[in-house]
């Protein structure tokens, strides 16, 4: 027994599918010759099949004429279904009503004793009890209207009852179709019988779709349907595209200032987009430092330095000797340069 248990731990066995799987066997990376491979596979396969058979033959069996019958357990490996689960049919109007009122169904006999003919007859269907055809005479009453054929009346009433029932049946089927629980052999369509139960009935074309199609058909002329005769009740086509708008030529107030507003809008949009770059702090600080150093170098010697890289960039450099007040200005100028970047 121990061996068997060990084997079962090694193998995965699904008795419902007669399936065994040995996930531990490993083949050498270089495959041996074909015959050896096949031989090894069969050997391993035999072991697995033997493992399944051990479990299978230990199940309780019933002796049958053709051989021992065994009850298989349900498969443990889950495989997908072929078709969706059938949906339960919604209750009919009558069923809902009967439940509400607590009406219970009673079985009725199929055969009923017919007093007119003195025989047993079917309750419903062909040759049934109280068939209209079996009534030869209808007694006249005081309330009868003259000129009405009582036989015809009876027939038409019956016909109406059948029609009513048919209407109810149709209504209930429609409800079932909404949930997708139509009986498999019934279809509510003018097309073919369903091949499977899950196919939906063809959709009704909506009003909007019809209008679209009608509009397309109407506008399929050279003039785009502009000069076509309208049918009674037909509305003019909807204008689908945008209307073009032009700004006034002359500038002024109100509508006249619209162009200015537009350009302003564009500009502010652009500005706001690059607003984070307006002041490049690093560059500004750099420039400021360089200039200060240069000033310091220039002041003691009072001679203009030629090696400064900043010189051609700064137009105020030549006049920097004049005084401190002017220097402040030049500083501002440098920072402005940074801004313009």
């Amino acid at each position: 027994m121990g061996e068997v248990e060990e084997q079962q731990q090694q193998h995965q066995i699904d008795l419902g599918n007669l399936f065994a799987f040995n996930p531990h066997h490993n083949f050498p990376s270089v495959p041996p010759s074909r015959e050896e491979l096949v031989k090894e596979c069969l050997e391993q396969g035999t072991k697995l099949v033997q493992a399944v058979a051990d479990a299978l033959f230990s199940l309780p069996s019933v002796e049958d004429r053709d051989g021992p019958l065994v009850k298989l357990p349900a498969p443990t490996i889950r495989l997908p279904r072929e078709k969706p689960l059938p949906k339960p049919r919604p209750p009919t109007k009558w069923e809902v009503f009967a439940k509400k009122k607590g009406i219970q169904n009673h079985k009725k006999d199929k055969l009923v004793f017919d007093e007119q003919t003195g025989t047993w007859k079917r309750r419903h269907g062909y040759d049934r009890v109280n068939d209209d055809k079996d009534i030869p005479i209808i007694e006249a009453k005081m309330t009868d209207e003259p000129g009405v054929d009582p036989f015809a009346k009876r027939r038409s009433e019956k016909k109406q009852r059948v029609e009513k029932q048919e209407r109810h049946r149709f209504q209930n089927l429609k409800e079932a179709a909404k949930v997708g629980a139509l009986p498999s052999h019934v279809q509510l369509a003018a097309t073919a019988i369903p091949i499977t139960g899950t196919q939906a009935a063809p959709r009704k074309v909506s009003k909007e779709e019809l209008q679209n199609v009608a509009g397309m058909a109407a506008s399929a002329t050279a003039s785009g349907g502009k000069f076509d005769k309208k049918l009674p009740g037909e509305k003019p086509q909807k204008h689908e595209k945008k209307y073009r708008k032009f700004l006034p030529v002359v500038e002024g107030s109100g509508m006249g200032s619209l162009e200015r507003q537009q350009t302003d809008k564009v500009l502010s949009k652009l500005m706001s987009k690059n607003s984070h770059e307006i002041l490049n702090v690093e560059k500004a600080v750099n420039m400021y430092n360089v200039k200060r150093e240069k000033k310091r170098r220039n002041q003691p010697g009072k001679s203009s330095s030629t090696s400064s890289k900043l010189k051609p960039k700064n137009p105020h450099n030549k006049t920097s000797k004049k005084g401190s007040s002017f220097k402040g200005k030049s500083k501002k100028g440098s920072s402005f340069k940074g801004k313009s970047k």
Binding site: L18, V49, L56, S58, G67, P68, P84, L85, S184, I195
Partner: protein
């Protein structure tokens, strides 16, 4: 206006009902299709798969130019054929320079492609090339054993998928009663490398072993081939979840407080709430006070009855 349409003949009705979704499904049918071009090898492969599954398969022999699995729009024909023949397993063979001896196994759910596996066929050996005792030849429609060998089937995703598809393809109908004398075939699949599976079909010889369990012996009856996994497409999660649903009618509700024993039989436990004797009022009858009146009432009743009887007699 909609119209109620029903099959006009009983036969048509039965046929339609056969195709309707069921709570417990019968076996899946297999459809075998050919692509634009098929090699000689592939033709034999398709024929032999058809032979293996003859009880529950449909084989189409025409070439299909517009079937291209794995491509968008290339599945419409396949889905249509699946609907037409009510098959939910499709084996499609095609041969091209890029993918020689190509076999695509597709499964459908509600007649829409569920998943796809593409394998190349190599080292194919036909049924005819095997020589064995013809008594061992498996019978059509017998329940097969499956033996899967190799860790590839557990670790490699493609092979794991292929394992499931092969099992679904060949397992046939799920049965509850099995005749042990009718066991006569085994499918052996071995994961040789990470993308190659050796697949073979064997007959079964039951030998006496001295115990109840006979000794199994496998006899290769073919076909045997190498399946080289190429492309595969797993089912979408939502679809998979839906397809794996079990009918609530089939799931057993857990039976509480009932245990079964071999010796004692079925045993049920009953839980009784505490009897709170002190706080519960005693029933009316025990009231001693009204005893006289009750007795009087009884007497009166008997008198009345007597009166009635007398009346009847009169």
């Amino acid at each position: 206006m909609l119209q109620i349409r029903t099959p006009k003949t009983g036969r048509a009705k039965r046929e339609v009902e056969k195709r309707a979704p069921k709570i417990v499904e019968t076996g899946k049918k297999t459809l075998i299709l050919h692509g634009t071009k098929t090699s000689q090898v592939l033709n034999t492969v398709l024929t032999e798969i058809y032979h293996l599954k003859k009880d529950n398969a449909v084989k189409y022999t025409r070439r299909n130019d517009n079937i291209r699995p794995f491509e968008s729009g290339g599945e419409t024909s396949m889905e249509f054929y699946s609907l037409k023949t009510d098959c939910s397993l499709i084996v499609f063979g095609s041969h091209s320079k890029k993918r020689p001896d190509n076999l695509v196994i597709a499964r459908t759910y509600d007649h829409h492609i569920y998943d796809l596996v593409e394998v190349g066929i190599e080292n194919f050996k036909s049924m005819v090339s095997f020589s064995y005792d013809k008594k061992l030849a498996p019978q059509i429609g017998s329940k097969p054993f499956f033996a899967f060998i190799g860790e590839g089937f557990e670790n490699v995703e493609e092979l794991k998928h292929l394992k499931e598809v092969l099992l679904d393809l060949f397992r046939g109908e799920v049965v509850t009663n099995l005749n042990l004398a009718g066991l006569d075939r085994v499918y052996v699949c071995t994961a040789v490398s990470s993308n190659r599976v050796f697949f073979t079909h064997c007959g079964l010889r039951l030998k006496k072993s001295g115990s109840v369990v006979p000794r199994m012996e496998l006899v290769e009856v073919g076909p045997s081939m190498d399946l080289v996994v190429r492309r595969h497409r797993l089912p979408e999660d939502g679809l998979k979840k839906e397809a794996m649903k079990i009918a609530p009618e089939l799931t057993k509700k857990k039976e509480k407080n009932v245990s079964k024993d071999a010796i004692e039989g079925k045993i049920g436990k009953i839980y009784m709430p505490d009897q709170q004797v002190g706080s519960v009022p005693l029933p009316n009858k025990a009231k001693g006070v009204k005893r006289e009146r009750r007795e009087a009432k009884k007497k009166g009743d008997t008198k009345k009855h007597e009166v009635k009887k007398q009346k009847l007699e009169a």
